[in-house]
């Protein structure tokens, strides 16, 4: 089926919801690569979907049992996305923002390659549609921020896989590549001594790739301490006041943002 040259709003939404047949999907992807306005509209739909999800993230819990901290966490998650949306959709340089699913190091490697070639490769947008990633089109793709906000072991491994893949690529082909892993909320466990399931791997990564930067959110650490738990970070982990500020600052400097 050949799409109407002026894709309807229904079709744009169907694209974002992955409801289009493969042929129509590819056609719209190709069109989006040549049409900044269409890209922006698809980006906005995807961003709105994310905002709605975040706003009800913890609403399944009982009201009585729901703690203020939980509300703050949901608010923080939504605020981060809100900030990202603001940067993403208000500025003109953003190309896409979609849903991240766990990927292998190989997949992330492909993503990096695709990100560098977004304008020329229609398939890159297909990859983006499966992954939560924000790419500043005009900026360098030599700086990547990986964001971890859950304690799901698969998420933690996924972030480290991605970082390792990128750093390996940097050592081979892109010596200027900068990579940061920022952990907040429950993701702070990734960097906690005596808690992190990946402590040995992190130590090996830091030793092998000194330029890899690991960052913990002070605010999240404070919340853990409020519960009476001590927080000791692994060697080599830096602290910032809030992950949100770090992410926004990096986005404004043109970093690629990926949330696991």
């Amino acid at each position: 089926m050949s799409l109407n040259p002026n894709a309807s709003d229904e079709l744009k939404n169907a694209f974002a919801d992955q409801e289009l047949a493969i042929g129509d999907r590819r056609e719209l992807q190709a069109r989006a690569l040549a049409d900044p306005d269409l890209r922006r509209e698809l980006c906005e739909i995807s961003a709105i979907k994310g905002l709605v999800r975040d706003a009800y993230e913890d609403s399944a819990r009982s009201g009585d049992a729901r703690r203020t901290g939980d509300r703050r966490r949901t608010g923080r998650a939504a605020a981060m996305r809100f900030a990202a949306v603001a940067v993403l959709c208000v500025s003109t340089g953003w190309v896409a923002h979609a849903t991240w699913t766990r990927g292998s190091p190989g997949e992330f490697g492909q993503a990096t390659v695709a990100a560098s070639a977004v304008p020329a490769q229609p398939d890159s947008l297909a990859w983006l549609s499966r992954n939560r990633v924000a790419l500043p089109l005009a900026a360098s793709h030599e700086r990547v921020l990986l964001h971890v906000s859950t304690r799901d072991p698969e998420d933690l491994r996924s972030a480290l896989d991605a970082a390792e893949s990128l750093m390996a690529k940097a050592s081979r082909d892109e010596p200027d590549l900068q990579v940061e892993i920022v952990a907040n909320s429950a993701g702070i466990d990734l960097f906690r001594a005596g808690v992190s399931p990946e402590a040995d791997r992190i130590a090996a990564l830091v030793a092998r790739y000194p330029s890899l930067r690991l960052i913990a959110c002070q605010q999240s650490m404070d919340r853990v301490r409020e519960r009476g738990e001590s927080v000791v970070l692994l060697p080599g982990v830096d602290v910032v006041p809030t992950a949100l500020d770090e992410i926004i600052a990096r986005l404004h400097k043109g970093w690629v943002y990926v949330r696991t």
């Binding site: 229904e10 709105i48 709605v52 770090e246």
Partner: protein, 184 residues
């Protein structure tokens, strides 16, 4: 809150229903923005599901079937409370009671704004958007749950998200000023 179900035809079924309870509460809350009401609606829906378990012919469609029942419970609730009033108008009344000033102070401002934007949508658009975005239902599944054509699902999504875009991205633009700070 634990379920207190008087008649349990199958422990396995009950366990499977319970797995879907958080999703149902989340969606019910997004429809009515009243936590106690959402819990009650889900409780009603799960009890009805247990009583009607024999009518579920395809076990793979359990989740969609549960949301059909939840949707019916919500509409029944709206009709019961004010049988002579317009359902959509009544629904807005329920919503206005759900977003209390106290909640607004306790919740993050952004979450409040997003929820308020969702609450401002007409009921049909609100249900469609939340079923797709919160639970990832496909268009055909949503059509089945709400008993509407797929084309209506698409038009409701389009109109609903256009309204959300106007409300939320304008807000986002107001909050774009970056708070850059140096990293330790």
């Amino acid at each position: 809150m634990n379920l207190h179900i008087p008649f349990l035809p199958s422990y396995g079924l009950r366990a499977r229903l319970d797995e879907h309870r958080p999703s149902m509460v989340r969606v019910a809350f997004s429809w009515c923005h009243d936590r106690a009401l959402a819990e009650d609606l889900v409780q009603d829906a799960l009890v009805k599901a247990l009583g009607q378990a024999g009518s579920l012919r395809d076990a793979t469609k359990l989740k969609a079937w549960l949301f059909v029942i939840l949707g019916n419970c919500f509409r029944d609730h709206l009709r019961r409370r004010r049988p002579h009033e317009d359902i959509d108008a009544l629904d807005e009344e329920v919503l206005s009671g759900g977003l209390r000033p106290d909640d607004a102070h306790e919740q993050a401002e952004v979450v409040r704004r997003v929820r308020a934007a969702i609450a401002s949508l007409p009921l049909g658009q609100r249900q469609t958007v939340t079923l797709v975005d919160l639970e990832g239902f496909g268009y055909a599944e949503v059509a089945g749950i709400l008993d509407i054509p797929v084309g209506t699902v698409m038009s409701r999504l389009s109109r609903g998200r256009q309204a959300l875009r106007a409300l939320l991205l304008e807000t986002a633009a107001e909050n774009t000023e970056p708070a850059l700070r140096s990293v330790k």
